[in-house]
């Protein structure tokens, strides 16, 4: 009985920790992005709130919470209220299956460093990432504004262009690891990460997660200089904040997915597993910000062309070649 109680307590502590870490990472990612982007553009970025702007996220949250929560008169009320929550929730839920460290031994209990080790973890991730599209589509539709609608139409057409390639690019990983469980996939990379074993799949997945995160060069649904703010034009206050937080949590999640699927998860010399995982995730987050500072936005049709005519055939070919190699090696 006590064993079960200890187990329950440990799981609860783990959950709280995971929540706290992911949310504060998302908050400070906003600050990091603003500061890094500013430095890339020879500016300082936020440096007024606290030493070096370190409590800027707190100031932002207070600002967002105290702002008026405006709902347009012609909006579809129910859907309008639902959409931002859906966007943030799907982002948060995805973290459940991501293993962020090797199994820990505490009080004679084996504590896996993953909230829930689903045996179909990868499918769960793909499903939730598609579900996140609803937040965007419903938000744009319910706002009853042309900019929002255009943003969500773009978002959906973007979704169908990259998601096939993304799904196909993880097929070789599953074939090499012989499992859908993310923990098993990390275990299979103990010697050599899949990014080195299968670079094309890694590159396709990398490009796809840039599209999935709706950031430059694929930030078509938001496109602030064409569509005001795209699908969240009509949102204000904390509802906008939820979309915003969702986007940054998504960034953390996608970086973690890339780490887990291709960069060997927590494996690495000298340092403890969790430290390696964090280093890899933060490095990819930096890549996200770096790309945003460097590349312009693609055009709508360019993205569709790229997704359907380049990425998808490449991903398909890659699946075939990987399959043939694996078959040849036995």
């Amino acid at each position: 009985m006590t064993e079960q109680l200890i187990m329950l307590a440990l799981i609860l502590i783990k959950l709280v920790l995971v929540f706290a870490v992911v949310l504060s990472m998302a908050a400070y990612l906003v600050l990091a992005e603003r500061k890094l982007l500013a430095r890339m553009q020879l500016r300082y970025g936020p440096n007024r709130a606290g030493p070096g702007g370190m409590i800027q996220p707190l100031a932002d949250v207070i600002k967002l919470l105290t702002k008026e929560d405006f709902i347009p008169a012609t909006a579809d009320r129910g859907l309008f209220l639902l959409a931002p929550g859906l966007s943030a929730l799907t982002a948060l839920l995805t973290f459940a299956v991501i293993p962020f460290g090797p199994t820990l031994e505490l009080f004679g209990q084996k504590l896996p460093m993953v909230v829930c080790d689903l045996n179909i973890g990868l499918l769960y991730f793909l499903a939730l990432s598609s579900l996140a599209g609803y937040g965007l589509a419903l938000g744009g539709w319910a706002s009853n504004s042309k900019y929002s609608l255009l943003g969500s139409i773009r978002g959906l057409s973007q979704l169908i262009s990259y998601e096939l390639a993304m799904g196909l690019s993880v097929v070789p990983v599953v074939m090499m690891a012989k499992s859908f469980s993310l923990t098993d996939i990390v275990m299979a990379q103990a010697q050599i990460p899949f990014a080195l074993l299968n670079p094309p799949a890694f590159l396709i997945f990398l490009i796809s997660i840039f599209a999935e995160s709706k950031r430059t060069p694929f930030d078509l649904p938001e496109a602030e200089n064409e569509l005001v703010a795209g699908f969240h034009t009509e949102y204000s206050g904390m509802r906008f904040g939820l979309f915003f937080v969702g986007e940054y949590i998504n960034m953390v999640i996608l970086s973690s997915m890339l780490t887990v699927l291709f960069l060997g998860g927590w494996h690495g010399p000298w340092l403890p597993g969790i430290a390696w995982f964090m280093i890899k995730v933060l490095a990819i987050c930096f890549l996200f910000i770096w790309v945003r500072g460097s590349l312009p936005r693609l055009r709508y049709d360019q993205l569709m062309n790229f997704g359907w005519k380049v990425l998808m055939p490449l991903a398909l070919l890659n699946v075939l070649i990987t399959g043939a190699c694996l078959l040849g090696m036995g």
Binding site: A38, M40, L42, R43, Y44, W290, V291, S294, L295
Partner: protein, 176 residues
């Protein structure tokens, strides 16, 4: 080969942004760090006095006529000795664009520009300067100039008593 060109063009932006990250930002951190303005930068307006310590302004309305943003307003009045002055004189510095056209229009060199540019505040009404706020205790850049001593009007001194001025002509000495 457009594809080759595209691939080639993909990498330089990353190098440029990375290099910029390690360079010093060009931002001037204003309240702590003052910008270096040109020597002859001019902004805030003042009303100067003539060498006798009297107000130079004669309330002719030429400055408010010249002002492109209509930020100057006044009301004219006349003293017992024939000296014109502004009953009230108001410059709205929330609208002033520091163009200096008023100083060019001013016939008495009363309104002049200074190098003080730090006009900001939370209450816009505090930036509406009245005559008391605008008047200064010196002659500005024209130390010797006194309008009433140059125009031949017998206000500062009786007619003919000012420098470079002859006595009034006796119009009747031409009569037979």
């Amino acid at each position: 080969m457009p594809l080759l060109r595209d691939i080639k063009g993909f990498f330089p932006p990353f190098w440029i942004t990375l290099r910029n990250m390690f360079r010093k930002p060009v931002t001037v951190q204003y309240p702590e760090q003052k910008p270096e303005l040109p020597e002859r930068y001019r902004a805030r307006l003042v009303l100067t006095r003539d060498p006798d310590g009297e107000e130079r302004c004669v309330a002719c309305h030429l400055c408010s006529g010249a002002c492109p943003v209509d930020c100057i307003s006044m009301q004219a009045a006349e003293a017992d000795n024939g000296r014109r002055y502004a009953a009230w004189f108001r410059i709205n510095f929330t609208r002033c664009i520091f163009c200096g056209l008023c100083t060019e229009a001013c016939p008495t060199l009363a309104i002049q520009v200074t190098s003080d540019f730090e006009l900001s505040g939370r209450d816009p009404l505090k930036l509406v300067y009245e005559k008391e706020d605008l008047l200064v205790d010196h002659c500005g850049k024209n130390v010797e100039y006194s309008f009433y001593r140059q125009t031949g009007i017998g206000v500062a001194a009786p007619r003919g008593g000012n420098p470079n001025e002859s006595a009034p002509v006796d119009v009747k000495d031409l009569l037979p």
